[in-house]
Homo-oligomer: 219 residues x 2
DNA sequence: ATAAATATTTAGACAAGCCTAAAAATATGC
DNA sequence: GCATATTTTTAGGCTTGTCTAAATATTTAT
């Protein structure tokens, strides 16, 4: 199997992530949005990836990864998340800074460098955002079931386990609020405007669209 | 100034390195050889770089970097050498392994990552091969004058300061002979076939083409 | 069920960076 | 100094990944 281009790797990764929590096909529009290209460009790339047997592509219907396409996606994702964690652990970057850098590095690190980073990090299972890091055999590690902050019961106390956003501004905002992975909080009330929480030091009303990105260990 | 492509950066770096120890122009053939492309491809890239004022290009004569072209070359070289050193110092790679990886990483690290690596490494001046690392202001650091092993006087004792080759097999051979940067040796005799040397544990005759890559502090 | 809106594909174009083959310029050897 | 060899450039082509505009398919709403 010949090496794939960075662009091809990114398409496969996006397809994986867009279909990760469902069985449905991924549409051309979704991909165009996520990859920031025009739909016509998506169509032409999908044809190429289908010819390489990396995706199953039904025109006008959508696309799904084949097993080998999924392996490529998981490999890139492993690179991405190991790099993010390495940058935070060993080079003092914040979780809000690492995504962009990892987006480029993920395509150019050797398997040997991947292995050395994994080793130095102690073969970690989750990245700085709580995203699971695929294992060396390209399986997603078991993660405890998580519940969205929006669906966390009133009066329940729990710990932030994952934040599903790479937006710098949003993550920076969480930094200022001291709402990071591992932080304990109690849900005071679920309200129409969001979730009112109690942290060690403060009370906030987290707006719905912010809360929807925050995940707690399920009760 | 728009961002340059990886290929453009590599051309500028090669031009810099081919003219580093002389004032002469760099020829298209030299570049084609070093970049592993055909001469026709070089010509077309030289036209582009000239239009960007990164090189002075005289058709049929050769090429030289402009001041801004030189800055780009030094920036890439700084990335390359910091990465090589980082990989050896923090990820246990050997000096024979790092060039290839750095060749790709040099184009995708951010200025922030460059700065963090430099800091963790203590703002180093030389890479694992003894090559000088351009400073953050893109000047080559002062290096003590070096003398090639072929021109080191008989009976002189000195320390290996630089090895000007990135060839894996050659560097591996030096590993086995325990001829690394910092190793002390004494020149027993300069012979037609090479240089006979005495290390802490052994005597060797280093063949001419090997010796020509090894540099000692000048007497 | 049909019209309108939306999504997708096709067609044709373009920039980058490479190639081969041929033409032109330069360098070398006698 | 001239013929030959070498180097360099030009001309034309190819692939990758993108774009716009137009055609077509699908979905949605009445
Ligand atoms: Mn990427
Ligand atoms: Mn992440
Ligand atoms: Mn390079
Ligand atoms: Mn080096």
């Amino acid at each position: 199997m010949q090496p794939l281009s960075e662009s091809q790797e990114d398409y496969l990764k996006s397809i994986f992530q867009l279909s990760e929590n469902s069985t449905r096909l991924v549409s051309a529009m979704e991909l165009a949005d996520r990859m920031d290209v025009k739909p016509a460009s998506v169509t032409s790339m999908l044809k190429k990836l289908a010819k390489l047997s990396l995706i199953d592509y039904t025109p006008y219907q959508g696309v799904a990864l084949t097993p080998s396409g999924k392996l490529v996606a998981l490999e890139v994702l492993r690179h991405h998340r190991l790099i993010e964690l390495f940058l935070t652990e060993f080079l003092d970057f914040g979780w809000e800074e690492v995504h962009e850098q990892a987006e480029k590095l993920e395509h150019v690190i050797s398997e040997e460098l991947e292995a050395r980073m994994a080793e130095k990090l102690g073969h970690p299972t989750h990245d700085p955002h709580g995203d699971p890091i695929p294992t060396v055999d390209l399986e997603l590690p078991e993660s405890p079931l998580l519940a969205n902050l929006l669906r966390t019961a009133e009066n329940h106390t729990g710990v932030i386990k994952r934040v599903t956003s790479q937006d710098r501004d949003f993550l920076n905002l969480l930094n200022r609020l001291e709402l990071n992975i591992g932080v304990e909080l109690r849900v005071i009330s679920q309200e129409r405007g969001g979730v009112r929480i109690q942290t060690a030091t403060d009370q906030f009303l987290i707006p719905v669209d912010m809360a929807s990105k925050i995940w707690m260990e399920a009760e």
